[in-house]
């Protein structure tokens, strides 16, 4: 479904290599996490896939076709929510559809549907400044989902939330991803979060950003954080990933 082929990235001609010959693929309906220390280029990779940044070399293919620009089959969720402060909840959710040229009645109906999916009923006419961080990210999620993308790109979407809210939203995302059969590329620096949510964890290293190893996650989906945490395989996988990241840090 998504294939990243030999992508290099430098921010300037003489600048350091931020991504080095990176290959990655994500299957239909698969939830893949990109995990790594800050500065390993995972967000840069996500933005290249989104078409927001051009790669220095290499290509991104979506269902076999080259995909180098933002397109309707991709939608992104951002760490800092990036809601438009001057739009109410419903108009923020409808935003993606609006710029994609969907007629007003239709986009509001879609928006209402996804508001409901994310438990935002009753907040349709609130501005972002009037709702909590957790609700803002629900709006961010609804906005991306409402465009019904084939690929969801999520850039540390729960990184700016408090621990409790983060866990609620992780469970909610796990449920929605399963019920809507989403294909997701998810950037995080939390090992736990990567394990809770993904089918596969791609661990990246620093200087230059590259893929170290991939781990399949052995739990059935849908699943909840509490169930995963109680499973002994959770601690084992967590340790393995941790040791790999430690080793990588010591090796430099």
């Amino acid at each position: 479904m998504l294939r990243v082929a030999s992508v290099d990235k430098r921010f300037s001609a003489e600048g350091p290599l931020v991504l080095d010959d990176l290959d990655l693929s994500v299957g239909q309906g698969e939830f893949v996490s990109l995990l790594g220390p800050s500065g390993c280029g995972k967000t840069t990779l996500l933005k290249i896939v989104a078409g927001l940044l051009p790669p220095t070399a290499g290509k991104v293919f979506l269902e076999g076709k080259e995909s180098s620009e933002p397109s309707r089959d991709k939608a992104m969720v951002f760490q800092h929510f990036n809601l438009l402060p001057w739009r109410t909840t419903i108009n923020n959710v409808a935003y993606g559809l609006e710029v994609q040229g969907v007629a007003k009645a239709e986009r509001l109906e879609k928006a209402a549907q996804f508001l409901q999916l994310l438990d935002l009923e009753g907040y349709e006419n609130h501005y972002p400044s009037q709702i909590s961080g957790g609700m803002k990210q629900r709006v961010g999620l609804a906005r991306a989902l409402a465009t019904e993308p084939r690929l969801m790109l999520m850039d540390e979407p729960f990184g700016a939330l408090d621990a409790l809210t983060r866990e609620y939203l992780q469970d909610e995302l796990a449920k929605i991803a399963a019920s809507q059969n989403l294909t997701v590329l998810f950037v995080t620096h939390s090992i736990d979060e990567a394990i809770y949510l993904s089918d596969r964890i791609v661990v990246m290293g620093n200087n230059p950003g590259r893929i170290l190893l991939e781990y399949p996650v052995p739990f059935e989906r849908p699943r909840t954080t509490t169930v995963v945490r109680a499973d002994p395989r959770f601690a084992e996988l967590r340790n393995q990933v941790w040791l790999l990241l430690e080793e990588e840090k010591a090796g430099r």
Binding site: G51, P70, M76, P85
Partner: protein, 255 residues
């Protein structure tokens, strides 16, 4: 500590509006009594009121003259400042090219430009318009620039990720994002535009409220000086209040 909390307790029982009115009445009465006791030294409220009514025609004429210049100068500043601010925020070469002028003119006391301006364009209406533009365009430019610049990063990228075109980015991100900054500029700018015109009138002395005040001052008519000054203050408050009201209507998302 105790006096402070005692004061708050007192205020807690008396509504602020009553305190405010009492304060104004107290000052006016004291002033009236003191002014009548020493009439050479200063005029007093009653005399000031009478002088204002007697000179209503001249004062009205001067206000019309002044606010014609303020209106034209402010309108030019708002339109020009928004366009320049947008240009500087979005087009790199515009920013690089205009930066030195903005920096130098913004930090020069603009009153020092009056003699030069008089040499170039005389002491008429144009001078007053020019001074109000010079006084009010920089807060417009700077605040519009800052607002557009602040939505040009992440929010613009967000819009792009949803395949927004350049035009829809302008319509859905840049313009609404600029509104709060434009209003900050407009609120600061309206007062500056007024000050700019009055200063030009007081320096060049041709017409308007500034010139009228100079005339009253030269003839030691202190009772005539207070009325127009108070009226100017009142008009300024109304104008800024009006702008705040307009902002709440146009940009209701701000808390």
């Amino acid at each position: 500590m105790t006096t402070l909390s005692a004061e708050y307790a007192l205020l807690g029982r008396i509504p602020p509006r009553v305190v405010r009115i009492a304060s104004v009445v107290l000052v006016l009465v004291t002033w009236e009594v003191a002014g009548r006791a020493a009439p050479r030294w200063a005029s007093y409220p009653w005399e000031i009121g009478a002088a204002f009514v007697d000179n209503a025609d001249r004062i009205a004429e001067a206000f019309v003259e002044t606010f014609k210049a303020v209106g034209v100068g402010y309108a030019l500043s708002v339109v020009g400042g928004v366009l320049i601010g947008f240009g500087m925020a979005r087009i790199r070469v515009v920013k690089v090219a205009l930066d030195p002028y903005v920096a130098v003119l913004y930090s020069t006391p603009r009153i020092t430009l009056i003699p030069l301006a008089i040499l170039l364009i005389g002491i008429g209406f144009n001078l007053r318009v020019l001074m109000s533009v010079l006084a009010s365009i920089f807060p417009m430019i700077i605040n519009t620039y800052a607002a557009v610049d602040s939505v040009s990063g992440e929010l613009e990228e967000t819009a792009r990720s949803f395949t927004a075109s350049r035009w829809s980015i302008t319509r859905t991100v840049l313009i609404p994002g600029a509104i709060p900054g434009i209003f900050v500029g407009m609120r600061v700018g309206i007062i500056r535009a007024l000050v700019g015109v009055i200063v030009a009138e007081m320096t060049a002395g041709a017409a308007g409220v500034g010139a009228l005040l100079l005339v009253f001052g030269r003839f030691f008519q202190s009772e005539k000086l207070f009325g127009p000054v108070l009226l100017l203050g009142l008009v300024s408050i109304l104008l800024t209040r009006g702008l705040s009201y307009l902002e709440r209507k146009l940009a209701p998302w701000q808390d």
